[in-house]
């Protein structure tokens, strides 16, 4: 009887062993856990040399011009009184309606990529630009960053009447700052 009991115990043990063996999965489970740090990267061009396309500069001065050597006819009838064989048509007053400043936009001139930040804030500060340069601005000034680059523009005005243009060049210097939060 004891032997029977032992055999029964062994049989149960053997059965459970067989079951345990056959119920094992044929694959191994691995938990994958990769930690990513927060990062913010600002990209910008630091050396930009621009020129006006043909006709562009005179067009800024007079929208009717399309080339550098431009004849702009003022077609409004001029009336005046000749006195001592002279008449003053005061053309300068009509010229005042033409452009005196240009608003230049450097499209896609900076970019930001970031991980771990819900928002970025961009700002721009003048860094000893010539006086002809004003109204520095940056867009977008805020946004939602990701690892795909968000690109942005920088714009500024140039005073076309400034003596800074006498040497044929005008220099703008600026610092872009982008922070993440």
């Amino acid at each position: 009887m004891n032997i029977l009991k032992k055999s029964t115990v062994v049989a149960i043990f053997a059965t459970s062993f067989i079951f345990a063996s056959s119920s094992k999965a044929a694959s191994l489970d691995v938990n994958v856990d990769v930690s990513i740090p927060d990062v913010l990267i600002l990209y910008a061009y630091t050396d930009i040399d621009l020129s006006f396309a043909p006709g562009e500069f005179t067009k800024l001065l007079d929208s009717s011009c399309s080339s550098e050597d431009c004849a702009s006819a003022l077609t409004a009838t001029q009336s005046g009184t000749i006195t001592s064989s002279v008449v003053d048509l005061d053309i300068a007053s009509d010229l005042s309606a033409t452009g005196t400043s240009a608003s230049i936009t450097l499209q896609n001139s900076w970019a930001v990529r970031a991980l771990g930040y819900g928002t970025f804030n961009a700002s721009i500060a003048d860094k000893a630009s010539e006086t002809a340069v004003s109204n520095l601005d940056i867009t977008p000034s805020t946004g939602t960053p990701s690892m795909v680059a968000t690109t942005g523009d920088v714009s500024f005005d140039i005073d076309l009447t400034s003596s800074d243009l006498d040497d044929g060049t005008v220099t703008a210097n600026y610092t872009i700052t982008v922070t993440g939060s």
């Binding site: 044929a26 691995v30 990769v34 990513i36 990209y43 910008a44 040399d49």
Partner: protein, 195 residues
């Protein structure tokens, strides 16, 4: 009394057969497998090239362009694409699976591991949330063997290296996924080992 003796003898035989069965089962089931979790920390320098959390990268190549309609498009995206690291690699410091076998298992070929990664957002992705996932674009594996004098595998283990595409990620922190590994001899069409 005879009946009892016969019964006793019969039971002893049954006991012997059972023990033999267990022994033979143990003798056949020599292949043992186990796995470890895969963890790795991507460093900032892997992504930005610097250890700092914020980096400014100035493209100092001269941009010479003409202004037209008071605008000029410098198209910085082109330069970023050639420079920015969107893909990084993560690798296990140690093996993530190990197989132990006996001489009777006769594993003389190569162990081929088949990997499958799943996350709540789909296959071959690991995610920190439903809106921020990293795609596993490549999985490289390195298997190390220990064989006995007859060339039979007694131990094999595998490390992996994941190439991760971060372009769809926007969160920092832990990205997780579930990987299942099946091990086969010579070909994934052969029966899975580690039954």
């Amino acid at each position: 009394m005879d009946v009892l003796r016969k019964k006793s003898s019969l039971l002893s035989s049954a006991f012997f057969v059972l023990c033999l069965s267990i022994f033979s089962l143990k003798a056949e089931a020599k292949i043992r497998c186990k796995s470890k979790d895969f963890t790795d920390d991507i460093t900032r320098s892997q992504i930005t090239g610097s250890g700092s959390s914020s980096t400014a990268y100035g493209f100092n190549n001269l941009q010479r362009k003409a202004i037209s309609a008071q605008k000029v498009n410098l198209n910085i995206q082109l330069d970023i694409s050639s420079l920015a690291k969107v893909q990084v690699t993560a690798e296990s410091n140690d093996w993530i699976w190990e197989l132990k076998a006996g001489g009777k298992d006769g594993l003389r070929g190569d162990i081929i591991a088949k990997y499958k990664i799943e996350s709540a957002s789909g296959p071959m992705k690991i995610c920190s949330s439903s809106s921020s996932c990293i795609e596993v674009v490549r999985l490289d594996t390195d298997v190390t063997y220990k064989r006995n004098g007859k060339g039979v595998i007694t131990r094999a283990n595998g490390r992996i290296q994941l190439t991760l595409d971060l372009s769809q990620a926007n969160e920092a922190g832990s990205y997780q996924g579930d990987m299942t590994v099946t091990l086969h001899e010579d070909s994934t069409t052969n029966p899975a080992l580690c039954p």
